[in-house]
């Protein structure tokens, strides 16, 4: 999927995560901060990258500000930001692959 414009999903509430996606010339640029950095940043990073990969996103600047969200929340927030940023029209295939 192509990232056409900047988009945001999620909040900075405890147990949520805010994901910002912007267009990039090439590759995935990921910026991550988390309240549970020491114990979970590897997992958070993996979930973000896997979700982007499942959606076929190959070029994006991604900023993730995590407040201790569970993996399912992170996945949903990333999907939502991608659909917004790609100006997806029609029904959103939640949980589905858009490859």
């Amino acid at each position: 999927m192509d990232i056409k414009r900047g988009a945001v999903s999620g909040t900075l509430e405890s147990s949520d995560v805010q994901v910002t996606i912007e267009p990039a010339a090439n590759g995935i640029w990921l910026e991550l901060s988390s309240s549970v950095m020491n114990q979970y940043s590897r997992q958070i990073r993996q979930v973000v990258l896997n979700t982007l990969s499942n959606l076929g996103v190959e070029r994006a600047n991604v900023t993730v500000v995590d407040r201790g969200a569970l993996d399912s929340t992170i996945k949903a927030r990333v999907e939502c930001a991608v659909f917004r940023a790609s100006e997806w029209e029609g029904a959103i295939p939640w949980q589905g692959l858009v490859k």
């Binding site: 405890s14 147990s15 090439n26 590759g27 995935i28 640029w29 990921l30 910026e31 991550l32 901060s33 309240s35 549970v36 950095m37 020491n38 114990q39 979970y40 940043s41 590897r42 997992q43 990073r45 990258l49 407040r67 201790g68 969200a69 569970l70 993996d71």
Partner: protein, 530 residues
Amino acid sequence: MKNAVGRDIPDFLLQGGREVFQGNNYKDGAIYTKPGPTVRAAVKPEESKILPSIRDAIELCGLKDGMTVSFHHHFRDGDYVVNMVVREIESLGIKDITIAASSLGDAHDPLAAMIESGVVTGIQTSGIRGKIGDAVSNGKLKGRAILRSHGGRVRAIEQGELHIDVAFIGAPTSDEYGNARGKGGKSDCGVLSYSVADAKYADHVVVITDTLVPFPNLPPSIDGVDVDYVVVVDEIGDPKKIASQALRMTQDPRNLMMAENCARVMAATPYFKDGFSFQTGAGGPSLAVNRFLESIMTERGIKMRWALGGITKPTVDLLNKGLINCVADTQDFDVASVQSVHSTPGHYEISTSQYANPVNKGAFVNKLDFVILAALEIDVDFNVNVVTGSDGVLRGAPGGHPDAAGGAKCTIIVAPLVRGRIPTVCDRVVTVTTPGESIDVLVTDYGIAVNPSRPDLADALVSAGIPLVTIRDLKMKAYSIVGTPDDVEFDDRIVAVMEARDGTILDVVRQVKKFDLDISDAGVFDFKIV
């Protein structure tokens, strides 16, 4: 050398007779001689103890580089005394000071700058948090901090391991001779229990008050016979932060469910009978246990003989209703408990040595039937951490946790299975503050586990129809929700030593490491940690 809770204690810490933790009762029967303070005779009847300023007191006590000063934490986050005194120490150009406080809190953030500048190079405390916790965890303190429980601190004083050169005791009221009380002024804190040992064992004792009362100020918590000087200042603290108007009783259904389960667990044990004894913490679910206890006590027609520890309104209410015979008070958290102590019949002040010193001959905690306590983390061996956060930074206090847990017949930890993404029940706690052998039951929102060392309690609970799970089941459940956490990484340097109650080494706290993620996947060009 590995200790009894499986922590590796480096040999260089084990010099001068220091030992690793070898179980709760290891020091039973040990012979020791108590140290005595070096005092100056105050013979002249006409001599005044009143000094115009804290600065004069510091100079007359002969405070020098490298000495140890002590404080209490009865004023909690409303304390002005520690900062006032340390500012004067700094302005006199004295450095390399050790602060031996019964606890330190957010009110003492200014100490972090004193640590950086070398005015303060040693810290011995129970609580360590905020900017002080950050400074120590980041290796700014020149020496190693020593963390002790409340009982462990008095033990260290009474066994001569902690020698106090000058004790500065903030007192809500004092007379001109230093007879000091926790009541009767404008900054009342109820009791001065934590300072009793300081007054008896320090070489110099300075009482700092904002309310001078006519002699004699009876009955004194701090005895004028031990006091060198009295300094009157405008304010010793912020009354609003010293005693909370009312601690909020939790309305969170999860906390209430856990609290109710704690009360059910208590009622299912053989210790729950007329004349039982009880201590509980002031945090959410622990505090709420009182509410469920009352109805079970009334239903069964039994009364509590005595309650112990930090006191709050729910305990005072039970005392007033005649459901408790007496309260042994070491700290007051709210206005109701401050007003009640020494006033309500049966509500008494006791010293911290009486409360919890494991090597005296009659600590009250030893006679406890039940204690309900919280935990930041508890591992599959029931070891509890209440001092370091999930990022490895110091931000808590052992307080009376290890003492009450070590003494009580039935120690119940109540904690949610996960907090945000952080699992409370885990494989290995970051820092052991209370050894697993002291813990009997864990109550979580996902089930109740009994320490395998207490099959008798497990039988009693099952007989009462309370379903049990194992602590390993609870850990697996937690990890299934939040994922398995990576271990927190530390640098080598030891920044703090966590002492067991008896002075052996329970654990060490290392300097936090700047977090670094190894990134080498193809496809990601830049990975920035903010």
